[in-house]
């Protein structure tokens, strides 16, 4: 394995772990599509940050995008609660509008903005090794993206391990959580802030569509494999990592798009879990009624 392949797979794996950890909480809150919405809605934030700062400097872009991501979730909540529009309709209207706003900004300022729609939607993970972080003394620290996503992953791991009980309880039973004094709104927006952060860190290398695939696919696969949230988080991160490595080699073999290949592997994993899962799979379900009857008889 040459060094470029190593960096590409590592980037893919880091993005996959970030997305699939957050995705577990999103699908349990029945909010998988909010991840989709955020990953698109950050676009105007990125473009505006770009226009104001005039460079592709990471921190301004992160802040711009994170603000838009949280604004997007706020708008979704607002339309759903105050205007009494259905949740899915409210998601659809909000993120398409914000994304379109970003597209218009890009096309109007095409000359000044070093971004295009293709880059935002599909990314290009194969170019990761080209953008190297060189220190002032000329030391090669490896690709910049790896450092950014690595940093985000460390933050996420801290967030999830330290505040696991809050995230768990507010996802399962918001009413009880409020009753014991946890603010469901606070944890909702913290989670959405984390989703925005991940999306922005990931979009440059893998694109918005792969972010969505990674946020929903591996968690859904893990959901079929276990009944324990901690195991689900681990399995989901594992599935995401495997998908990004396997996807890379599939793309190499086909000489095709890496992001596309990763998404296909994710779909394949889900299909396998759907058929062969020991607890929820199609094959297991045929046997299950007898097993349950036996268990209840004991």
């Amino acid at each position: 394995m040459n060094i470029d392949a190593f960096w590409i797979i590592l980037t893919g794996a880091l993005v996959a772990i970030c997305c699939s950890l957050l995705g577990c909480f999103l699908i349990l809150r029945r909010m998988a599509m909010v991840g989709d919405a955020i990953s698109h809605a950050v676009l105007p934030g990125i473009v505006l940050a770009f226009l104001f700062s005039g460079s592709r400097e990471v921190w301004t872009m992160l802040i711009g995008a994170a603000l838009l991501g949280v604004a997007c979730t706020f708008l979704i909540e607002f339309f759903h609660k105050k205007a009494r529009v259905q949740a899915d309709a409210s998601i659809g209207v909000t993120f398409t509008t914000l994304f379109a706003l970003g597209i218009i900004l890009i096309s109007v300022y095409a000359g000044k903005v070093d971004l295009d729609q293709d880059c935002v939607l599909y990314g290009e993970i194969a170019y990761v090794p080209l953008d190297i972080w060189l220190t002032e003394s000329g030391l090669n620290m490896g690709p910049r993206t790896v450092w950014i996503i690595g940093g985000v992953l460390v933050l996420l791991l801290l967030f999830i391990t330290v505040f696991y009980k809050q995230l768990y309880l507010t996802s399962f039973d918001p009413a009880f959580a409020t009753a014991i004094g946890l603010s469901t709104t606070l944890w909702y927006y913290l989670l959405m802030g984390a989703v925005s952060l991940t999306t922005v860190a990931a979009f440059e290398s893998v694109g918005a569509i792969l972010v969505v695939a990674l946020m929903v696919g591996p968690p859904a696969t893990a959901y079929l494999l276990t009944d324990d949230l901690k195991k689900m988080l681990v399995l989901s991160a594992l599935a995401g990592t495997i998908a990004s490595a396997a996807g890379f080699y599939l793309a190499l073999w086909l000489n095709g798009s890496v992001a596309g290949a990763i998404s296909v592997i994710i779909g394949l994993q889900f299909l396998l879990a759907f058929v062969f899962s020991p607890s929820h799979g199609l094959l297991a379900k045929r046997r299950q009624p007898i097993a349950v009857m036996k268990a209840n008889a004991v």
Binding site: K165, T178, A179, L182, L229, V292
Partner: protein, 267 residues
Amino acid sequence: MIQHVTNPVLEVHDLTVSYQRKPVLWDVDLTLPQQALVGIIGPNGAGKSTLIKAIMGLLPLNSGFVELFGKPLEEVRKRVSYVPQRESVDWDFPASALDVAMMGTYGQLGLFRRPGSREKKLAMEALEKVGMQDFANRQISQLSGGQQQRVFLSRALAQDADLYLMDEPFAGVDIATETAIIELLRLMRDNGKTVVVVHHDLQSAQDYFDWIILLNMRLVASGPTEETLTPPLLEKTYGGRLTELSRVSELLQKKQFPIRETKPTRK
């Protein structure tokens, strides 16, 4: 007939709550005594669940205030426990019965501490009290409705509160579970706790509760069971609907059917 007590566990003062500008509770004013099993009774849409949600601060109040143990909720949260309706959560969630019971201990843990062996022990004891210790590691979707309700109760028990507010703990459970639950609630009352239960069934209310709150948007009555469960007050709470109900039950009683069968169907 609204009877007030001195040194109340719970005081609801001039409470008005509305959804979308439509009032659901209107000017409710009541106090509850210590060490009592309290039933909140009224027809569908009377605001029974709304009342306990408002007490727990889950809904914005239009007017009035709620005091628990003579203090606002924020100061005494750890002494109050809430059991939501069973249907309000997703039972396919990846959690075991023990995980759910353990959630009762989260309130004491603060922001950073994580549940450890002490919390696990508390949760196991709570599961034992409801007879669910053998199902501790069972995934919650694989439990029956009655078992799920018991797991919800065990979570409240793990909180070790002094006042319990329960939203329809008897909805959709079989008779055996209902009996087991009411035995447990009586035991809690005898240990000095106050338990407030939203309840649907008039027949059983008579022997279950010491204190009854009759509610139909406005407070009709609040007082000891024998003084509140009277035909005129029930008539006032249920309007015309009750007469039909009692006629049916009289008819069935004459034919000597078991009284249980006359239970009104729950929603």
